[in-house]
Amino acid sequence: MKAIDVENLSRRFGKIEAVKEISFAIEEGEIFGFLGPNGAGKTTTINMLCTLLRPGGGSARVNGFDIVRQRSDVRRSIGLVFQQSTLDEQLSAEQNLRFHGYAYGVPAALREQRIHDLLTMVELYDRRQHKVRTFSGGMKRRLEIARGLLHLPRVLFLDEPTLGLDPQTRKHIWDYLHDLRQRENLTIFLTTHYMDEAENCGRIAVIDHGRIVAMDTPDGLKNAVGGDLVTFSTADAQAAAQFVREQYHVEPQIQDGQVRFHVTSGETFLPDFVREFPQRLLSVGLRRPTLEDVFLSLTGHEIRDSELDAKDLMRQHMQRWQR
């Protein structure tokens, strides 16, 4: 049985088609990432899969349960960590977890055991009786991950799990997630617009404007771009691009005055290139393609690492005021 099986799922808001007939399947124990810019349809897809939003068309099964007809079964079998904190900041860490245990009907003995184990795992056991409002952003996110796992879900949904966290905390959280997947054979479905975060996934679906434009392992996606990336700059970029086109039969791109193109086995290519290039080279670079390059070549635009939109900023502002 697939952990998640999606067929032609779509959803529109008014005139905007947020998700357009997407299909994919996720195996049990897989870490699967949805990579795309803000507004690409990632959160809408998650909300449909976790039964918060009714799909406009198509169907999906999570752990074998239909997301429309078996909503309670779906809910019981999944854990969720949202983009924005959904903790009760007036309650302690332990009280938040206990509330969750009650709400999901976890038997008392198992509940207390899980609370102990999970709080220990995310290194918050010592602070279990502290109110959540005294926690840092990273601690809150760890607590939310612990809470999402309390009722032994088989799939964990993470919507931008490390948004707004510092690199160290992000690495820390990923260590937990890898550990968890091994220990509990957990399937993890996450959305992100961070390229380096997507590297943690077994497979990635690149999503743009509500459509899946590519789906493969991170390495597979990078290879599909066409090998290593050569970048160089010179006085006349247009003429240089023309030379590359004729000499090596590849289509170069010009970005910020730099000429970029992909070649296989760049290490052996580069010495020849430097010798053969007729003009004076100002700089030459060679690197393995990143997912950023993958996204650029698939969609023709860069993933906009856009800041939180205005509404989110407003909400954060209000929360600060009221605390």
Binding site: T86, D88, Y102, A103
Partner: protein
Amino acid sequence: MTEIWRGVWVVAYREILRFVGDRARFLSSFAMPLLFLIIFGAGFTRTIGALAQGVNYIQFMYPGIIAMTVLTSSLFAGMSVVADREFGFLKEILVAPIGRTGIVLGKAAGGSLVALIQALVMLVLAPILGVKLTPTLVLSLIPVVIILSLGLSSLGVLIASFMQSQQGFQLFVQILIFPLIFLAGVFFPVNNVPAWMEIISKVNPLTYGVDAIRQIFLGSAHGLGVTVFGHVMTVPSEMALVGVLGAFLLLGAVIVFNRQE
């Protein structure tokens, strides 16, 4: 069905937990009732004298102030829905396998329990005001407060379903609360006022809640009770009226909350 019940108790449990954990809210919720009791009591008791045999003004007003505490505290149940929405916790509740109906019933039940606790705390003042408390009085007060506060909590949740911000909710409830309180016979008997005011007061459902609580404290023999078309209202009939209205409000809240995405 088990999901709904689990929802009711888990949501109500959290309301109580938050109430107990927030000392500032607990203390401030007594500020207004105490202010009214002290200022109006001190200001009017001597001027007005006895309203009936053995009932001075402050003893008349005191049961009304208890009803007022119940009103403000119950409407707070709605405030917590808006706050949960604003701070994101509502999402945690919405995705739990407990169903929307359970959430609404739990919010109403939680608000009602908090209101009951506050009403009982208000009883501490009784000896100071020269009001005699008996076990029977307290026991008959409890169901009346529960029926009244369930209806009012439902109203709070219903209002909250249409509100996006706490400020908006607060403003709306402020506007609603004052006419409700002033025209419910908290501060003066509604039988002896100009006709227009009498009509409004007798349409105001809170009037019957106030009167029921007052009858429990003062008995019904003082001629201060509310009459409708010449009939003196009894506590059971008043509770039936408040209860039916409350049931409609609760149903309304459940329907509206279920319909929202």
